[in-house]
Symmetry: C2
DNA sequence: GCAACAAAAATCGTATACGATTTGAAAAAA
DNA sequence: TTTTTTCAAATCGTATACGATTTTTGTTGC
């Protein structure tokens, strides 16, 4: 019963995605340190391959590198939070308009399925899942356009916004955006492009308003348990 | 009179931008080989620092890496060309709507200035400049939103589209999109958001239609002269 | 007991080194 | 002459090594 686990040579992109997913899903908290040697051991490679990957994540703005100090999961400032949200209002207006024009019954079904899962996650008090699913809804919306480039852009924006939410959400986070998503689906089903666009803008504004931008949570400490599912033994 | 030139330690991001600009401005043609050692010599660093930068450009889709063969300036397929153009229609619809809502007189002036420069470049038969300015118009439009995230996204899309144009433009490239930009400005000046959005979609469709997707130009050969302005002497 | 300083440990950033793979050319066969 | 085969040169991908900087620890003084 040797450790085995990942061992069979992950590609750079796979490692990138692994770290990226860990951040998006909240298994790596904002501010957490991403040591090169440490990550290298986790994935069974040398830090020579980790470094470039960290820089790539820096381009996606979900990791920051402080010279001679190392890489950390990004902790977006209030200003950045506002900018990203504003960007989403601009970009996703185009997305929901296109989606409204192209949506087919099975697309609406997929969206409603996600909302249902969101409800389930909320009622089960699984904050992590609810978090992830909220973003997934917007990604699925982008997928309706059938355009991979658009889907990737939305995914990046959602990832950054997830960090914002992780940092600034109010302790007693009420189910803020649930009805928001449901009514978005209704507008799309109506085929009313203008109404859908309007609803999207307000939905994103609502999400922003539900945050407490006054104080961001302090950086936390531990790493490593975030990759438990990989089965890589430490040391 | 030693070589001097760049010598004073460029940062990774500066090198990245240098290569990126060279590609966008057409000094590096699609398909051109980007050797690691070669680029390292150009910038006076080891290939250890070049490699990650090439991977970052890969994420931007303006460079492709073929395993064990090296990095090349991307040569987007017809399918990718269509996808990027469709993405621009979706994204830039949101952008021009936001820009129309926010545009101030000085913004319109900046846009008209770019169109004027485009005319000048065309009449001077400076194809390269005209090319760059066409993209610059859309970037300036994005800048009107005052949102850096949006501006970066549009810049990336424009960069990819520039490669598409470089590959598929017709030999006798007529001034296709000149009036397109002028009428976009008029719609913005009117404050008619829907008309502006409609004009943008058709403008991008026109650009696409002006291409000859039947045959893409073959890969060309030489490198190195693209970075002459840096003053780095080759060996 | 706490603050300040000094030394040691850990970590980062880059260059160099080396095995693996591909490319190109030279030589041999048809 | 053309094709195939073989071998050398060039290039890529990764690990290791080493100087530079930061962080931590341990000690001293107050």
């Amino acid at each position: 019963m040797t450790v085995s686990g990942v061992k069979q040579a992950l590609t750079d992109s796979e490692i990138l995605r692994e770290i990226s997913d860990a951040i998006i899903e909240g298994r790596l908290a904002p501010g957490e340190k991403l040591g090169q040697d440490e990550l290298g051991k986790v994935f069974g490679v040398s830090k020579t391959r980790i470094r470039p990957i960290l820089h790539r994540l820096t381009d996606q703005k979900i990791v920051v590198i402080e010279p001679m100090r190392g890489a950390f999961v990004a902790r977006p400032s209030v200003e950045e939070a506002r900018t990203v949200n504003a960007a989403r209002q601009i970009i996703e207006e185009g997305v929901i308009r296109a989606a409204t024009r192209m949506a087919r019954p099975k697309d609406l079904k997929a969206l409603r399925e996600i909302v249902a899962q969101e409800h389930e996650a909320r009622s089960s008090h699984m904050a992590g899942s609810a978090h992830r699913l909220t973003g997934e809804f917007h990604c699925e919306l982008a997928r309706i356009t059938g355009n991979e480039v658009v889907a990737d852009i939305v995914r990046d924006l959602v990832a950054r916004d997830n960090l914002v939410v992780a940092l600034y959400q109010r302790p007693n986070a009420a189910g803020c955006s649930l009805d928001g998503h449901a009514s978005l689906i209704d507008r799309i089903a109506d085929g009313d492009e203008d109404a859908a666009a309007h609803a999207m803008r307000h939905h994103l504004q609502d999400v922003m308003a539900s945050l407490d931008l006054g104080q961001r949570k302090p950086p936390s400490k531990p790493l490593a348990s975030a990759f438990a599912h990989l089965g890589a033994g430490p040391k």
